[in-house]
Symmetry: C2
Subunit: 198 residues, 2 copies
Protein backbone atom coordinates (compact mmCIF):
# COMPACT_ATOMS: atom_id res chain seq x y z
CA UNK A 1 0.00 0.00 0.00
CA UNK A 2 1.25 3.47 -0.91
CA UNK A 3 1.24 5.92 1.99
CA UNK A 4 1.37 9.69 1.54
CA UNK A 5 1.98 11.86 4.60
CA UNK A 6 1.43 15.58 4.36
CA UNK A 7 2.12 18.03 7.18
CA UNK A 8 -0.18 21.06 7.26
CA UNK A 9 1.65 23.50 9.52
CA UNK A 10 -1.22 25.94 9.91
CA UNK A 11 -4.05 23.55 9.00
CA UNK A 12 -6.97 23.93 11.35
CA UNK A 13 -7.98 21.14 13.74
CA UNK A 14 -11.47 22.66 14.09
CA UNK A 15 -14.52 22.23 11.85
CA UNK A 16 -15.25 25.95 12.17
CA UNK A 17 -13.93 27.02 8.81
CA UNK A 18 -15.87 28.30 5.83
CA UNK A 19 -16.39 26.22 2.71
CA UNK A 20 -16.85 29.57 0.94
CA UNK A 21 -13.24 30.56 1.72
CA UNK A 22 -11.20 27.45 2.43
CA UNK A 23 -7.73 28.98 1.92
CA UNK A 24 -8.52 32.02 4.06
CA UNK A 25 -10.31 30.39 7.01
CA UNK A 26 -8.81 26.90 7.45
CA UNK A 27 -5.04 27.46 7.56
CA UNK A 28 -4.72 26.29 3.96
CA UNK A 29 -6.66 23.07 4.24
CA UNK A 30 -7.17 23.55 0.48
CA UNK A 31 -3.59 22.32 -0.01
CA UNK A 32 -4.43 19.09 1.81
CA UNK A 33 -7.68 18.69 -0.16
CA UNK A 34 -5.71 18.81 -3.40
CA UNK A 35 -3.28 16.24 -2.00
CA UNK A 36 -6.22 13.92 -1.26
CA UNK A 37 -7.46 14.29 -4.83
CA UNK A 38 -3.96 13.62 -6.18
CA UNK A 39 -3.53 10.53 -4.02
CA UNK A 40 -6.85 8.81 -4.70
CA UNK A 41 -8.69 10.07 -7.77
CA UNK A 42 -8.63 8.05 -11.00
CA UNK A 43 -10.70 8.52 -14.16
CA UNK A 44 -13.11 5.80 -13.18
CA UNK A 45 -12.93 5.40 -9.44
CA UNK A 46 -10.43 5.77 -6.64
CA UNK A 47 -7.16 4.06 -5.83
CA UNK A 48 -7.78 1.36 -3.24
CA UNK A 49 -4.11 0.71 -2.50
CA UNK A 50 -3.42 4.20 -1.13
CA UNK A 51 -3.48 5.64 2.38
CA UNK A 52 -3.13 9.33 3.22
CA UNK A 53 -2.12 10.63 6.63
CA UNK A 54 -2.61 14.35 7.19
CA UNK A 55 -0.91 16.02 10.14
CA UNK A 56 -2.86 19.14 11.13
CA UNK A 57 -0.73 21.46 13.26
CA UNK A 58 -2.93 24.55 13.28
CA UNK A 59 -4.63 23.82 16.63
CA UNK A 60 -3.92 22.49 20.10
CA UNK A 61 -3.70 19.52 20.34
CA UNK A 62 -2.64 18.73 16.81
CA UNK A 63 -4.63 16.06 14.97
CA UNK A 64 -4.04 13.33 12.43
CA UNK A 65 -6.60 12.46 9.77
CA UNK A 66 -6.22 9.12 7.99
CA UNK A 67 -7.94 8.32 4.67
CA UNK A 68 -7.85 4.72 3.45
CA UNK A 69 -8.60 3.99 -0.21
CA UNK A 70 -9.93 0.52 0.50
CA UNK A 71 -13.03 1.72 2.29
CA UNK A 72 -13.16 5.41 1.36
CA UNK A 73 -16.60 6.69 0.29
CA UNK A 74 -18.15 10.02 -0.79
CA UNK A 75 -14.89 11.36 -2.25
CA UNK A 76 -15.49 13.59 -5.27
CA UNK A 77 -12.70 15.25 -7.21
CA UNK A 78 -13.66 18.82 -6.36
CA UNK A 79 -11.96 20.71 -3.54
CA UNK A 80 -15.08 21.81 -1.72
CA UNK A 81 -16.55 18.31 -1.34
CA UNK A 82 -13.23 17.07 0.01
CA UNK A 83 -13.08 19.98 2.46
CA UNK A 84 -16.61 19.08 3.60
CA UNK A 85 -15.42 15.53 4.37
CA UNK A 86 -12.53 16.95 6.43
CA UNK A 87 -14.97 19.29 8.21
CA UNK A 88 -16.98 16.24 9.28
CA UNK A 89 -13.84 14.44 10.45
CA UNK A 90 -12.78 17.45 12.51
CA UNK A 91 -16.21 17.56 14.18
CA UNK A 92 -15.63 14.05 15.60
CA UNK A 93 -14.36 14.12 19.19
CA UNK A 94 -10.70 13.17 18.76
CA UNK A 95 -8.78 11.12 21.28
CA UNK A 96 -5.38 9.45 21.22
CA UNK A 97 -6.94 6.39 19.51
CA UNK A 98 -8.50 6.44 16.04
CA UNK A 99 -12.19 7.34 15.74
CA UNK A 100 -14.10 6.79 12.51
CA UNK A 101 -15.75 9.73 10.76
CA UNK A 102 -17.27 8.83 7.37
CA UNK A 103 -16.32 5.49 5.70
CA UNK A 104 -12.56 5.29 5.22
CA UNK A 105 -11.81 8.48 7.17
CA UNK A 106 -10.41 8.35 10.70
CA UNK A 107 -9.19 10.99 13.13
CA UNK A 108 -7.11 11.10 16.30
CA UNK A 109 -5.06 13.58 18.28
CA UNK A 110 -1.35 13.42 17.60
CA UNK A 111 1.49 14.80 15.53
CA UNK A 112 4.28 13.86 13.18
CA UNK A 113 5.99 11.62 15.78
CA UNK A 114 2.83 9.50 16.07
CA UNK A 115 2.62 9.20 12.30
CA UNK A 116 6.25 8.10 12.16
CA UNK A 117 5.48 5.39 14.78
CA UNK A 118 2.51 4.33 12.65
CA UNK A 119 4.71 3.66 9.60
CA UNK A 120 7.58 2.05 11.50
CA UNK A 121 9.24 -0.71 9.45
CA UNK A 122 8.25 0.84 6.12
CA UNK A 123 10.68 2.35 3.64
CA UNK A 124 10.32 6.11 4.14
CA UNK A 125 11.07 8.73 1.51
CA UNK A 126 11.07 12.41 2.38
CA UNK A 127 10.48 14.62 -0.67
CA UNK A 128 12.72 17.67 -0.76
CA UNK A 129 14.19 19.82 -3.54
CA UNK A 130 17.82 18.96 -2.70
CA UNK A 131 17.28 15.21 -2.26
CA UNK A 132 18.81 12.56 -4.48
CA UNK A 133 16.99 11.75 -7.72
CA UNK A 134 14.13 9.36 -6.95
CA UNK A 135 14.83 7.63 -10.26
CA UNK A 136 17.92 6.13 -8.63
CA UNK A 137 15.59 4.14 -6.37
CA UNK A 138 14.44 0.65 -7.27
CA UNK A 139 10.82 1.25 -8.23
CA UNK A 140 9.81 -2.24 -7.14
CA UNK A 141 10.60 -1.39 -3.53
CA UNK A 142 8.53 1.78 -3.51
CA UNK A 143 4.99 0.46 -3.85
CA UNK A 144 4.79 -0.18 -0.13
CA UNK A 145 6.75 2.92 0.85
CA UNK A 146 5.65 5.98 2.82
CA UNK A 147 6.25 9.37 1.21
CA UNK A 148 6.48 12.45 3.43
CA UNK A 149 5.71 15.88 1.96
CA UNK A 150 5.53 19.35 3.43
CA UNK A 151 3.02 22.07 2.67
CA UNK A 152 3.78 25.59 1.45
CA UNK A 153 5.81 26.29 4.61
CA UNK A 154 8.24 23.35 4.33
CA UNK A 155 9.38 21.34 7.34
CA UNK A 156 10.88 22.81 10.53
CA UNK A 157 14.39 21.79 11.63
CA UNK A 158 12.83 19.77 14.45
CA UNK A 159 10.53 17.91 12.04
CA UNK A 160 13.40 17.20 9.67
CA UNK A 161 15.41 15.79 12.54
CA UNK A 162 12.52 13.46 13.51
CA UNK A 163 12.13 12.35 9.89
CA UNK A 164 15.86 11.66 9.65
CA UNK A 165 15.83 9.65 12.89
CA UNK A 166 12.96 7.57 11.50
CA UNK A 167 15.36 6.43 8.79
CA UNK A 168 13.92 8.39 5.87
CA UNK A 169 15.87 8.87 2.67
CA UNK A 170 15.70 12.37 1.19
CA UNK A 171 14.67 12.27 -2.45
CA UNK A 172 13.72 14.71 -5.19
CA UNK A 173 11.49 14.15 -8.18
CA UNK A 174 12.98 16.78 -10.47
CA UNK A 175 14.55 20.15 -11.06
CA UNK A 176 11.42 22.26 -10.59
CA UNK A 177 9.91 22.93 -7.15
CA UNK A 178 6.30 21.73 -7.20
CA UNK A 179 3.31 21.81 -4.87
CA UNK A 180 2.76 18.71 -2.73
CA UNK A 181 -0.31 17.60 -4.71
CA UNK A 182 1.56 17.73 -8.01
CA UNK A 183 4.38 15.68 -6.42
CA UNK A 184 1.81 13.05 -5.38
CA UNK A 185 0.39 12.85 -8.92
CA UNK A 186 3.91 12.23 -10.23
CA UNK A 187 4.72 9.69 -7.49
CA UNK A 188 1.56 7.72 -8.31
CA UNK A 189 2.51 7.80 -11.97
CA UNK A 190 6.05 6.64 -11.09
CA UNK A 191 4.62 3.68 -9.24
CA UNK A 192 2.05 2.91 -11.96
CA UNK A 193 4.55 2.88 -14.78
CA UNK A 194 7.68 1.95 -12.85
CA UNK A 195 9.85 3.53 -15.53
CA UNK A 196 13.01 3.62 -13.50
CA UNK A 197 13.26 0.08 -12.15
CA UNK A 198 16.35 -1.89 -13.23
Amino acid sequence: MRTFIIVGHKATTSPDFSLEDIPGTSGRLDILCRCINAAFVLSHGIRHDVRVLLVLCGGEPSKIVCLRGGDLRHLNPDERTTAALLKKALAVVAESQWSRSTPGIFVRTGGLSDVLSEIKGKKILYLKEDGTDIRNQDGKLLDDAAFILGDHLGMTTEEESMIEQAGAEVVSIGPVSLHADHCIVILNWFLDTNPFSP
Copy 2:
Protein backbone atom coordinates in the same frame (compact mmCIF):
# COMPACT_ATOMS: atom_id res chain seq x y z
CA MET B 1 5.64 27.54 -25.32
CA ARG B 2 3.64 24.57 -24.05
CA THR B 3 -0.02 24.63 -25.05
CA PHE B 4 -2.68 22.60 -23.29
CA ILE B 5 -6.11 22.36 -24.88
CA ILE B 6 -9.00 20.97 -22.87
CA VAL B 7 -12.51 20.44 -24.23
CA GLY B 8 -15.29 20.85 -21.67
CA HIS B 9 -18.25 19.21 -23.36
CA LYS B 10 -20.85 20.48 -20.90
CA ALA B 11 -18.87 23.44 -19.55
CA THR B 12 -21.03 26.53 -19.27
CA THR B 13 -20.44 29.59 -21.45
CA SER B 14 -22.36 31.77 -19.01
CA PRO B 15 -21.15 33.46 -15.80
CA ASP B 16 -24.40 32.43 -14.06
CA PHE B 17 -23.03 29.52 -12.09
CA SER B 18 -22.56 29.24 -8.36
CA LEU B 19 -19.13 29.36 -6.73
CA GLU B 20 -20.76 27.43 -3.87
CA ASP B 21 -21.46 24.46 -6.17
CA ILE B 22 -19.14 24.58 -9.14
CA PRO B 23 -19.49 20.92 -10.24
CA GLY B 24 -23.29 21.02 -10.00
CA THR B 25 -24.03 24.37 -11.64
CA SER B 26 -21.33 24.99 -14.26
CA GLY B 27 -21.24 21.83 -16.37
CA ARG B 28 -18.13 20.64 -14.55
CA LEU B 29 -16.06 23.80 -14.88
CA ASP B 30 -14.27 22.43 -11.78
CA ILE B 31 -12.46 19.99 -14.10
CA LEU B 32 -11.15 22.89 -16.16
CA CYS B 33 -10.15 24.83 -13.02
CA ARG B 34 -7.99 21.92 -11.91
CA CYS B 35 -6.45 21.77 -15.39
CA ILE B 36 -5.52 25.46 -15.09
CA ASN B 37 -3.87 24.80 -11.72
CA ALA B 38 -1.99 21.81 -13.15
CA ALA B 39 -0.80 23.79 -16.16
CA PHE B 40 0.46 26.91 -14.41
CA VAL B 41 1.03 26.54 -10.68
CA LEU B 42 4.56 26.13 -9.31
CA SER B 43 5.75 26.23 -5.70
CA HIS B 44 6.92 29.79 -6.04
CA GLY B 45 5.03 31.35 -8.88
CA ILE B 46 3.46 30.36 -12.16
CA ARG B 47 4.82 28.93 -15.37
CA HIS B 48 5.31 31.72 -17.88
CA ASP B 49 5.95 29.42 -20.85
CA VAL B 50 2.49 27.84 -20.79
CA ARG B 51 -0.76 28.63 -22.60
CA VAL B 52 -4.10 26.98 -21.89
CA LEU B 53 -7.01 26.97 -24.33
CA LEU B 54 -10.35 25.86 -22.91
CA VAL B 55 -13.16 24.95 -25.28
CA LEU B 56 -16.50 25.43 -23.54
CA CYS B 57 -19.25 23.54 -25.33
CA GLY B 58 -22.06 23.85 -22.78
CA GLY B 59 -23.75 26.88 -24.36
CA GLU B 60 -24.67 28.36 -27.70
CA PRO B 61 -22.44 29.68 -29.21
CA SER B 62 -19.54 27.76 -27.73
CA LYS B 63 -16.65 29.82 -26.36
CA ILE B 64 -12.89 29.58 -26.09
CA VAL B 65 -11.01 30.92 -23.07
CA CYS B 66 -7.27 31.45 -23.41
CA LEU B 67 -4.93 31.82 -20.42
CA ARG B 68 -1.35 32.94 -21.10
CA GLY B 69 1.28 32.36 -18.42
CA GLY B 70 3.39 35.31 -19.53
CA ASP B 71 0.89 37.92 -18.41
CA LEU B 72 -1.49 35.92 -16.21
CA ARG B 73 -2.37 37.61 -12.90
CA HIS B 74 -4.58 36.84 -9.86
CA LEU B 75 -4.26 33.06 -10.26
CA ASN B 76 -4.29 31.27 -6.91
CA PRO B 77 -4.01 27.52 -6.55
CA ASP B 78 -7.48 26.95 -5.10
CA GLU B 79 -10.37 25.88 -7.30
CA ARG B 80 -12.83 28.58 -6.25
CA THR B 81 -10.53 31.50 -7.07
CA THR B 82 -9.84 30.01 -10.49
CA ALA B 83 -13.57 29.54 -11.07
CA ALA B 84 -14.10 33.20 -10.13
CA LEU B 85 -11.58 34.23 -12.82
CA LEU B 86 -13.48 32.13 -15.39
CA LYS B 87 -16.75 33.68 -14.21
CA LYS B 88 -15.30 37.14 -14.97
CA ALA B 89 -14.10 35.97 -18.40
CA LEU B 90 -17.55 34.57 -19.23
CA ALA B 91 -19.15 37.90 -18.30
CA VAL B 92 -17.14 39.64 -21.05
CA VAL B 93 -19.15 40.09 -24.25
CA ALA B 94 -17.57 37.48 -26.52
CA GLU B 95 -17.16 37.94 -30.26
CA SER B 96 -15.30 36.04 -32.93
CA GLN B 97 -12.13 37.98 -32.06
CA TRP B 98 -10.32 37.76 -28.70
CA SER B 99 -11.42 40.13 -25.92
CA ARG B 100 -9.35 40.58 -22.78
CA SER B 101 -10.88 39.80 -19.40
CA THR B 102 -8.38 40.02 -16.51
CA PRO B 103 -4.62 40.16 -17.30
CA GLY B 104 -3.58 37.07 -19.27
CA ILE B 105 -7.14 35.81 -19.78
CA PHE B 106 -8.93 36.20 -23.10
CA VAL B 107 -12.26 35.02 -24.44
CA ARG B 108 -13.93 34.61 -27.82
CA THR B 109 -16.73 32.66 -29.40
CA GLY B 110 -15.64 29.52 -31.22
CA GLY B 111 -15.02 25.82 -30.90
CA LEU B 112 -12.45 23.12 -31.36
CA SER B 113 -11.99 23.86 -35.08
CA ASP B 114 -11.00 27.47 -34.26
CA VAL B 115 -8.54 26.23 -31.65
CA LEU B 116 -7.03 23.84 -34.19
CA SER B 117 -6.59 26.76 -36.61
CA GLU B 118 -4.95 28.73 -33.79
CA ILE B 119 -2.25 26.07 -33.28
CA LYS B 120 -1.67 25.34 -36.97
CA GLY B 121 1.96 24.45 -37.66
CA LYS B 122 2.61 23.17 -34.16
CA LYS B 123 3.28 19.55 -33.30
CA ILE B 124 -0.04 18.29 -31.88
CA LEU B 125 -0.40 15.41 -29.45
CA TYR B 126 -3.81 14.06 -28.54
CA LEU B 127 -3.82 12.24 -25.20
CA LYS B 128 -5.80 9.02 -25.20
CA GLU B 129 -5.59 5.76 -23.32
CA ASP B 130 -4.87 3.64 -26.40
CA GLY B 131 -2.28 5.97 -27.91
CA THR B 132 1.39 5.12 -28.38
CA ASP B 133 3.67 5.59 -25.38
CA ILE B 134 4.66 9.27 -25.18
CA ARG B 135 8.09 8.19 -24.02
CA ASN B 136 8.79 7.11 -27.59
CA GLN B 137 8.63 10.79 -28.57
CA ASP B 138 11.73 12.94 -28.67
CA GLY B 139 11.24 15.13 -25.59
CA LYS B 140 13.20 18.00 -27.16
CA LEU B 141 10.49 18.43 -29.79
CA LEU B 142 7.65 18.59 -27.28
CA ASP B 143 8.35 21.84 -25.46
CA ASP B 144 6.61 23.82 -28.19
CA ALA B 145 3.90 21.23 -28.77
CA ALA B 146 0.14 21.48 -28.23
CA PHE B 147 -1.47 18.77 -26.11
CA ILE B 148 -5.19 18.07 -26.51
CA LEU B 149 -7.12 16.49 -23.64
CA GLY B 150 -10.75 15.60 -23.12
CA ASP B 151 -12.82 16.01 -20.00
CA HIS B 152 -14.74 13.27 -18.19
CA LEU B 153 -16.86 12.65 -21.31
CA GLY B 154 -14.01 12.01 -23.76
CA MET B 155 -14.06 13.26 -27.35
CA THR B 156 -16.86 12.70 -29.83
CA THR B 157 -16.18 10.86 -33.10
CA GLU B 158 -16.53 14.17 -34.94
CA GLU B 159 -13.99 15.86 -32.66
CA GLU B 160 -11.57 12.96 -33.02
CA SER B 161 -11.88 13.21 -36.78
CA MET B 162 -11.07 16.96 -36.66
CA ILE B 163 -8.08 16.31 -34.40
CA GLU B 164 -6.82 13.61 -36.74
CA GLN B 165 -7.20 15.88 -39.77
CA ALA B 166 -5.17 18.54 -37.96
CA GLY B 167 -2.28 16.07 -37.97
CA ALA B 168 -2.30 15.09 -34.32
CA GLU B 169 -0.46 12.05 -33.07
CA VAL B 170 -2.35 9.95 -30.52
CA VAL B 171 -0.25 9.32 -27.42
CA SER B 172 -0.69 7.82 -23.98
CA ILE B 173 1.20 8.61 -20.80
CA GLY B 174 0.72 5.29 -19.05
CA PRO B 175 -1.33 2.24 -18.22
CA VAL B 176 -3.75 3.92 -15.79
CA SER B 177 -6.57 6.18 -16.98
CA LEU B 178 -6.15 9.57 -15.29
CA HIS B 179 -8.08 12.83 -15.09
CA ALA B 180 -6.99 15.58 -17.48
CA ASP B 181 -5.43 17.70 -14.72
CA HIS B 182 -3.25 14.82 -13.53
CA CYS B 183 -2.17 14.22 -17.15
CA ILE B 184 -1.12 17.87 -17.40
CA VAL B 185 0.93 17.64 -14.18
CA ILE B 186 2.75 14.63 -15.63
CA LEU B 187 3.23 16.28 -19.04
CA ASN B 188 4.77 19.36 -17.39
CA TRP B 189 7.05 17.09 -15.40
CA PHE B 190 8.00 15.21 -18.59
CA LEU B 191 8.97 18.45 -20.22
CA ASP B 192 10.81 19.73 -17.13
CA THR B 193 12.92 16.62 -16.67
CA ASN B 194 12.99 15.38 -20.26
CA PRO B 195 13.70 11.85 -19.08
CA PHE B 196 12.95 10.18 -22.35
CA SER B 197 14.94 12.19 -24.85
CA PRO B 198 17.60 10.25 -26.76
